[in-house]
Symmetry: D2
Subunit: 262 residues, 4 copies
Amino acid sequence: MLQGYTYPLSPRGEANLASAPPWNYAGDIVGVEFWTDPAAAEATLPEGLSPDPESSGRVVALFVDWQFSGQNNEYLDPVRSQYREFMVLVDARWKDQPVSWCPYIYVDNDLALARGWVQGFPKKLGAVAQTRVFAAPGSASPTLAAGGLFGASLSAAGRLLAEARVTLRQPASDPGGLLRPTVNLRHFPRLAVGEYDKPAVHELVMAEFLDQRLADVWTGSAELGLFAAPGEELADLAPVRTGTGFRASMSYTVTGVRRLEA
Amino acid sequence: MLQGYTYPLSPRGEANLASAPPWNYAGDIVGVEFWTDPAAAEATLPEGLSPDPESSGRVVALFVDWQFSGQNNEYLDPVRSQYREFMVLVDARWKDQPVSWCPYIYVDNDLALARGWVQGFPKKLGAVAQTRVFAAPGSASPTLAAGGLFGASLSAAGRLLAEARVTLRQPASDPGGLLRPTVNLRHFPRLAVGEYDKPAVHELVMAEFLDQRLADVWTGSAELGLFAAPGEELADLAPVRTGTGFRASMSYTVTGVRRLEA
Amino acid sequence: MLQGYTYPLSPRGEANLASAPPWNYAGDIVGVEFWTDPAAAEATLPEGLSPDPESSGRVVALFVDWQFSGQNNEYLDPVRSQYREFMVLVDARWKDQPVSWCPYIYVDNDLALARGWVQGFPKKLGAVAQTRVFAAPGSASPTLAAGGLFGASLSAAGRLLAEARVTLRQPASDPGGLLRPTVNLRHFPRLAVGEYDKPAVHELVMAEFLDQRLADVWTGSAELGLFAAPGEELADLAPVRTGTGFRASMSYTVTGVRRLEA
Amino acid sequence: MLQGYTYPLSPRGEANLASAPPWNYAGDIVGVEFWTDPAAAEATLPEGLSPDPESSGRVVALFVDWQFSGQNNEYLDPVRSQYREFMVLVDARWKDQPVSWCPYIYVDNDLALARGWVQGFPKKLGAVAQTRVFAAPGSASPTLAAGGLFGASLSAAGRLLAEARVTLRQPASDPGGLLRPTVNLRHFPRLAVGEYDKPAVHELVMAEFLDQRLADVWTGSAELGLFAAPGEELADLAPVRTGTGFRASMSYTVTGVRRLEA
């Protein structure tokens, strides 16, 4: 009897990219709120979601340095438990509820990719980086203070896809209502001839982030560029203007998703 | 209406890691046939497959330099279309048919990972390398001739998992019955609380490789080591003896898989 | 007239891997003090250094997450300014002065490699990782407190070369005299036939770290493994016992090295 | 007494990135001849070289898949012996001799970087890829025949720096006089304060490629783009028109360089 949760199933259940939850996360976020062409934002929405009439075209871009742990101090193996992520979250409505939708997301780690796919995050591989703060002061790092500068970028397949800069202005209790409940689309295709367009799994789910905690939240101003590349549609969401920039630490736990009835 | 085949679905259908087949492949293979403890081989088999009584414990390890193309000369974008792969294929029976089963497989490219998952190949990321032959002669490469030496290796998460050496002895018309029809397990978990052990997709399929062509096949002797690492069970299949080593070029096309009824 | 400091020199002086100092650094360090066979430690010393009779065989291993900046907020480009480093520092004497000597050092960034070579640090490429602390609490990261656990590792060419674990016990004002002045050997070979053994540059220098500042220093216990691999001699320094483990943040500036007269 | 040729010197002489020559190479080349603004080409030349009045502004861009070997079948360790390279070679004159000069070159391997620096090639790290040919026919690879299409690209620090396409037209005995003797500048800075602009090594040398052999040479037409990025000046050599494209295999041996007297 094979053991495990995701690929690969195995005799001892240790080879799988992801064992079953709980999945615990802690990370540092550089984020930029922006507005794109509302038609471009709406075009990314799956069936079941509609534009948010109060914030049509509003998107949040997040660059995150993550550390993962399951139930066995997996953070002690940083090669496998650390990863970097970029995502965009588009404002939408599920029925009457304001939600966000993630059309594009990139990570640099296959364990994170596997957990993401199961949650409905459509992860691809990318190289993500953000400026860090260090406790020892000096001119090699910004400080969490007004005027603090943070850069961040995303590349995939050797091409720059996104670049951001955030300038801190003031501490905040949270990133200002920037983060909403997230709806994902779990999707897994069929590969039998004639069934390519009849996916085996295709269902909206609500992400659930338990024990979500924020720390060291600062908001300010921001710049963001999204750049075109073959095999990518991220730049179709190019900013027409940016809103709040922010930098925060966040932690939470995932134990499951909740299926949304049509 | 979102377009595409795998994640991420998108307005124009260009962002997906893999569009629907046909998928065309060409590659160079360094392969090693070996025998492991039959109990270790059997322990990797999914429900529905049984050990092959005539070759219990027989496994083939393959290191492959691949190039992919769909229908648009994708090989002109080598960053995304080339990848390197390692896999082990365990002899098994499906009903009375001799088949092979792939418990562990590694690639260095997310497009290949996505196509693999849909086919039921449980791909993880790894770094794979093999000695190459070049048309210009000299002491920096072996030749396809008796005595030609080829090395190959697999690492994942910064740890060496497999290392092989093949010494060519004679040309062959094919790698000697080394390759069998391959049965895969398409698997995609549920993530609702309480349903972790009730996968949304869990089905045996037969891989179908169309227009399979071999060229420059040479067989000979081989050495192989499989090494233990955290989060891996590959080394549970450690060789007790090796059989034929080979080096070949291969091409084929995938248009789908065939579901196997229980 | 070509401009620049290191390779490549160029018309505008922007292409070089490293422009001339000042070079500013900030980083997080996971460190392990250990003792190896004194003969193994002594064998790594260049002419001009001798074993320290009071601490023969004593070595410190450092895993560092670095961020670099020159004079133009280079930390805003984290792809090029961040890097990870592993090094071992062997206790030695230069004349009567207690110093340390760095026989082996690895980084994951070519800008850091270039700056290192010029300083006399014999850098190779490697993949280095260490557990991080995040401001948002939870089970995905340790805290800077007694019992806090940190893992770290080094791989190169797909092989694990070093692995460490540190358990914090108490805060400290500094890592306990663990860090000494460092003597390096600047070395650049000749390549004319017959002159391979007559290097063009081969000179001992004293590293100078200005404005060195420490923060969040914690010491405790430690484990360390060093592992053999082809093309490496690091494991010849395998620990016979470990001493203090520590975790600290550090920053400093480099403006030059001081040549040591023979 | 420390052993070895380049960094790091060590007790057994096995840890160095490069041992002393001979260095043997075999590779596949995708190349594009092009013309840039003659002033841009001239601006890259070091003191001692002058523009070639007969081909001012002529440059050749090369993308190469290399395999290296010393005297011990190093090609059996492909992780360390294989690498990919991009370079541009600018037409120039040394005294009256037509030569080429390499202002910019990128590799993906530190052993290759170390050998390059010693030869005077100003190597940085980059990700280079080119379309491959495989012996097994099919639509996943071009063939060495009229109409065969090859793509190639260079990225560094996550940004696309160069992209080429070559269409084969006819076989050729060599790439048409495209390759000239190469003059390099060996350069190693001083780091003492006040001496940043007084390099310890700064000397023109003539590269010597022994037993140079070509095979499977095809020429044809070509496209090439060079793209701007921070910290790079390659795009200052942007093509105003392209000449011959080619694809070839090449092998040679390096035993030394010859110093050029001023």
